[in-house]
């Protein structure tokens, strides 16, 4: 599969990000049913259908080059978006190895990795990178290994250390988060950083999820989808930059819903790391405007129903209260009340 990159699109200011029809078609629409509620919706992260976002361990798409540039801008403005505690160095190398091996295996026309013992040669054609380095020797890379590879792979990343029957977010590369702060959460345990999520604790979701994750095996990654909404196709919706994007929530009108309001879906995957026994948490985000969704009538109908029945606590937590009614009204014109069978297909 060849990917037609769109290197000049932007995720801030002019917001020229757009999805091609192919990108819309492979958008990981997350709603199987007309109502949404939390569950431990994890499944094996195995190779999915060709062309789908589940085809490869780390999905590279038409927005790759532009997203990596947006990440570089965010890191330039705020280097604290990449954090790694000293005891995580083995886990950093684990992560670099996993991503380089996956990308070069899954996209051989874009990435190549050749190894001569510990001497590695990495070529990233889309970003024009050609790097020879010694695996395990951070001094042979231009920056620490986690930051190095994080600047070359779509998605945000957290590396968790496993100790005391818990998982601790001790490294992170976070430049496209849905309103949570790496600086605030760094070093926290699994329960601590999920503390603010409403309703799910009462359902025991996190107790069960943690128990499951502690036993995650090598080469058996798992995934789930999460979602929220974003105004404008903006990646950097962090608490630190709230003044830059928060007011946009008040800018939604019946006339601009289709362009401005985006469904933001996170493909979250978890990988056991071999040397460190840590865990890589990848959060790969996808944005689809309401206009994008409306090109597939089932999705517009389904999302109309999901938003209409969303519990208030969840709408508050996801920050959609302000523009939810306008969006529901806009979507309603696509919903003829047809009974939809289960499933997420377009």
């Amino acid at each position: 599969m060849t990917i037609a990159f769109k290197p000049d699109e932007t995720f801030r200011g002019t917001y020229t990000y757009r999805n091609s029809p192919q990108a819309i078609k492979r958008f990981p629409f997350p709603f199987h049913q007309d109502q949404y509620m939390y569950s431990v919706n994890m499944e094996p992260h195995t190779k999915g259908p060709e062309g789908s976002v589940f085809e490869n361990a780390f999905d590279i798409d038409e927005h790759y080059i532009a997203e990596m540039r947006d990440r570089a801008i965010t890191l330039e403005r705020d280097p604290g978006r990449c954090v790694s505690l000293p005891h995580m160095m083995d886990a950093e190398w684990d992560t670099l190895e996993l991503i380089m091996e996956s990308l070069s295996r899954d996209y051989p026309e874009l990435f190549t990795l050749t190894k001569d013992g510990e001497r590695w040669h990495w070529v990233n054609k889309p970003l024009g990178i050609d790097q020879t380095f010694t695996f395990g020797d951070a001094a042979t890379l231009p920056c620490p290994p986690f930051e190095y590879i994080g600047r070359q792979c779509q998605g945000d990343f957290v590396i968790m250390d496993q100790r005391d029957n818990n998982l601790f977010a001790d490294s992170g590369m976070i430049t496209s988060q849905a309103d949570w702060s790496l600086m605030f959460d760094a070093g926290m345990s699994f329960m601590e950083w999920h503390g603010p999520v409403p309703l799910a604790h009462e359902l025991g979701v996190f107790d069960r999820a943690l128990k499951y994750l502690l036993m995650l095996q090598q080469s058996r990654p798992v995934r789930r989808l999460n979602w929220t909404m974003t105004i404008n196709p903006r990646l950097d919706t962090s608490p630190e930059t709230y003044p830059e994007w928060g007011p946009d929530r008040a800018s939604v009108t019946p006339d601009n819903v289709g362009d401005k309001v985006h469904l933001r879906v996170e493909l979250q995957a978890l990988f056991r790391l071999p040397r460190s026994n840590g865990m890589l948490f990848s959060i790969r985000g996808y944005l689809a405007s309401m206009n994008d969704l409306a090109t597939h009538p089932r999705w517009a109908k389904r999302f109309h129903r999901v938003l209409s029945t969303l519990p208030n606590e969840l709408a508050e937590y996801k920050g959609l209260v302000r523009y939810k009614p306008t969006t529901i009204e806009w979507l309603s014109k696509f919903d003829d009340g047809e009974v939809l069978p289960g499933g997420t297909q377009p």
Binding site: Q217, S219, R275, N277
Partner: protein
């Protein structure tokens, strides 16, 4: 979820001591093994005559050696067949299936000092932990107790990893580890790891707790062999199966023999992965695992079928 498996060839068998054999394994597909972390184990599937027999063993070699994995096996006198097969039937060149590595005994990377203690064949995970600590340049010491001088397997490899920091306790010379002195006066940030017989592990944990060690700094690993026991009846509500667990099979093995895919990982009562929900039990649940809390046992709602059984009557499980 059962475990991912690799097919390996037994490349070399070495008799290390009376009743202790080492097996070197390599992949039959020619690929490299994955890297693993110190303290990891694998599960070997052994081709005993009429049923799958799966035993967990710690990986003891260099975790970065991707061509060869090594395990060491002590022949269990009351073996139900696994260790006996490895000692009497296994030959170089034979092929078996093994699981991917799992680590239930990992090092705490925030530790400032690490005290590793091995009793007998418990040296195997301690050895891979020591290798990892040596590679990281961490501060550690090893205390190794064994029955008699000829049972001190792997002492040369240990000495090479940490010269002068390996302490030997030879039972035949009436030497033994005094945990209350070993664990006393240790600085904050010290972590303690032990693998050995149940009584030894319990003595060390009690000493640590009495000295005020936080439980999060006391790490232990034990694998239990399924003990067998009286036969009992089982009904599975979801698959609709009804059968009898014979005295020489574990509940988990009997379920597998029915063709029902039950989850498992360590098969030694430690990991919790095979937990099943008890719908009804007309008899006494005999819990042997190291996983369920006292409250969970008292509730009578859960059982770890890899090592636990029912005494008399019929057990109904939600599976």
């Amino acid at each position: 979820m059962s475990s991912a498996s690799l097919n390996v060839e037994i490349r070399r068998i070495r008799d290390l001591a009376p009743g202790i054999r080492e097996f070197s394994l390599s992949r039959t597909d020619g690929d490299d093994f994955p890297i693993y972390s110190g303290g990891s184990h694998i599960v070997l599937s052994l081709p005993l005559s009429d049923r799958p027999h799966r035993n967990p063993y710690s990986l003891l070699g260099d975790p970065t050696d991707r061509k060869t994995w090594r395990v060491a096996v002590r022949k269990q006198e009351d073996s139900r067949g696994g260790s006996r097969w490895l000692h009497e039937q296994a030959r170089e060149g034979m092929r078996i299936d093994i699981s991917a590595p799992v680590n239930l005994f990992s090092l705490n990377r925030l530790g400032r000092r690490h005290i590793l203690v091995a009793g007998g064949i418990g040296i195997t995970p301690i050895l891979s932990q020591a290798r990892e600590l040596a590679r990281l340049g961490a501060d550690f010491e090893v205390h190794y107790a064994y029955r008699a001088p000829e049972y001190g397997v792997f002492v040369d490899e240990l000495e090479a990893l940490a010269p002068g920091r390996i302490h030997h306790y030879v039972q035949s010379r009436r030497e033994q580890i005094e945990f209350s002195s070993l664990l006393a006066g240790r600085p904050l940030g010290t972590h303690f790891y032990i693998c050995g017989p149940g009584g030894m592990v319990a003595a060390s944990m009690n000493a640590g707790k009495a000295l005020g060690w936080p439980e999060s700094h006391l790490h232990s690993e034990q694998f239990l062999a399924p003990t067998g026991g009286e036969p009992f009846d089982v009904q599975l509500t979801l698959s609709g199966k009804a059968f009898t667990v014979p005295s020489d099979l574990s509940l988990l093995e009997a379920i597998e023999q029915q063709g029902v895919d039950a989850p498992y990982l360590c098969r030694g009562g430690a990991c919790g992965q095979c937990e099943l929900e008890v719908v009804d039990a007309s008899g006494e649940l005999i819990h042997h695992d190291l996983y369920l809390s006292a409250e969970e046992r008292a509730s009578g709602k859960k059982i770890m079928p890899c090592v636990s059984r029912l005494k008399g009557g019929c057990l109904t499980l939600n599976l």
